[in-house]
């Protein structure tokens, strides 16, 4: 057991020695991996932030119905209560609406600048849960036909669209990640192949003198693993640097809307997963190369 551990430690040390002996090549390889990984990781960060924004708003099937001035509230309310598709109904007076607006993020200044209340009375309805976009749209069309109704808005529509967009984004990101992961395996494959070729003599002599296949292969596995690890760490660095550059601008923009929003870095788990994944890709590249070029 101790002998086995020592062999692994030695193999790791030999791999580290090789990496140190070829500092420039090591750095370049790690950079290739780091840059390639930072692309999907950066996309993931943007998407995660976008979803965070979208989830703050309700995805509930909600409609807002704005009334014309002087509309008959009581009559409308009883008609709405009769509709089976309406699960919940809430009346929002124009005074109430202004108060809500004043409390909403970033709009206090705008409201304060108003001379008189421009808002109409409104009903906020929630359709029965599980209503799809078509049902909501049909409901909206019927509501628009009611007397005294100025405008009907399907509130959840934009959130649904954003959700759909995020889904496409996630799919595109997965495709990009898969593509770049393949690229990384290929890069490691080739680096390890070159390492094997430059160490032909050592490998041959070792085998002639009684080294097992496992002994000969082990340092190359570590080489791939360490290279992937370095690339993963570098990708985190690139990502962190990118956010550090972007965030002052994002903060400035958000402040203009009275928000304190800024792009958040990867969570600890996600960052760890990125590094582990990168190391794993390096190991796979090494495995393929070793099984192809070490017989």
């Amino acid at each position: 057991m101790i002998g086995w551990l020592r062999q692994h430690r030695d193999a790791c040390a030999r791999a580290l020695g090789k990496l140190r002996a070829q500092r420039a090549a090591t750095l370049l390889n790690a950079l290739v991996i780091g840059v390639a990984l930072s692309l999907p990781a950066g996309g993931y960060v943007l998407l995660a932030n976008l979803q965070g924004v979208a989830q703050r708003f309700s995805f509930e099937p909600q409609l807002s119905m704005f009334l014309k001035p002087g509309a008959k509230r009581g009559e409308l309310e009883s008609r709405l209560r009769a509709d089976a598709r309406v699960a919940q109904l809430r009346f929002v007076s124009r005074e109430e609406a202004l108060k809500e607006l004043r409390e909403a993020e970033g709009l206090a200044d705008v409201v304060a600048a108003l001379e008189h209340n421009p808002l109409p009375d409104a009903f906020v309805l929630r359709a029965t849960t599980g209503s799809d976009a078509a049902t909501l749209e049909a409901l909206a069309t019927r509501l628009r036909a009611l007397p005294g109704v100025a405008q009907v808005q399907v509130d959840s529509a934009w959130a649904q669209r954003l959700g759909a967009l995020a889904n496409i984004g996630r799919l595109a990101l997965a495709a990009l990640a898969a593509l770049l992961a393949t690229g990384l395996v290929a890069v490691t494959f080739n680096t390890i192949r070159l390492q094997i070729l430059t160490q032909r003599d050592e490998i041959e002599v070792s085998q002639l003198l009684g080294a097992t296949d496992a002994f000969v292969r082990r340092p190359f596995f570590y080489l791939g693993l360490l290279q992937g690890l370095a690339g993963g760490v570098l990708a985190l660095g690139i990502l962190w640097g990118g956010l550090a550059i972007l965030n002052p601008g994002v903060r400035e923009l958000a402040q203009a809307y009275g928000s304190s929003f800024q792009l958040a870095f990867l969570s600890g788990t996600a960052a760890l997963a990125l590094v582990v994944f990168s190391a794993l890709l390096g190991w796979v590249g090494a495995l393929l190369s070793v099984s192809r070029y070490l017989r």
């Binding site: 050592e202 003198l209 009684g210």
Partner: protein
Amino acid sequence: MISFSAVSKRYPGGQDALRGVSFALESGEFAFLTGHSGAGKSTLLKLIPAIERPTSGSVVVNGQNIGALRRSAVPYLRRNLGLVFQDQKLLFDRSVYDNVMLPLSFSGQRPREAARRARAALDKVGLLARERANPVQLSGGEQQRLAIARAVVNRPALLVADEPTANLDAESAAHIIDIFVSFHQVGVTLLIATHDQALIERYGKRVLRLAEGKLAA
């Protein structure tokens, strides 16, 4: 220790390197293997560490049948053999000391014990003072002694050397053979291929003579 019975070796392409070779080398023996170049000396020596496998017949080394040996068992066979190759196969990207350390790194030796063994092996061939040098800086005779030190660092009971005195002047060659004789005196079995007739006659040991792949009496 080594036993060949009716061993033939045919390389792909149909060339017969060995034809019906039979002999046995007892533990503690010292034998020269001789013959013209192309007579099959190198092929015979390559069968012992399973670098080549016999086409027919059986080769038994340390009780193991080379023809039937699994690939995974080959490294453990080789660790118990001392091998000196015709082209030495030294590594020029590391010091004399690290060349001798190489075989010790396979077996997971404790570092202190490994270092002690490496220095002892270098001392036996008179290269202890050159341990920091690169093999390139060594003379031909010194390089050969380094190859021997690396071969014996695992303290094998059997030492096989292929033309260890080729390209050496008479004095260096004699020095090499003296080293072998000193190993023989402590019980190591030796099989040494050479075409140097004068050397063979001087030492008066057992001689295996190959001619066109056959063993002459």
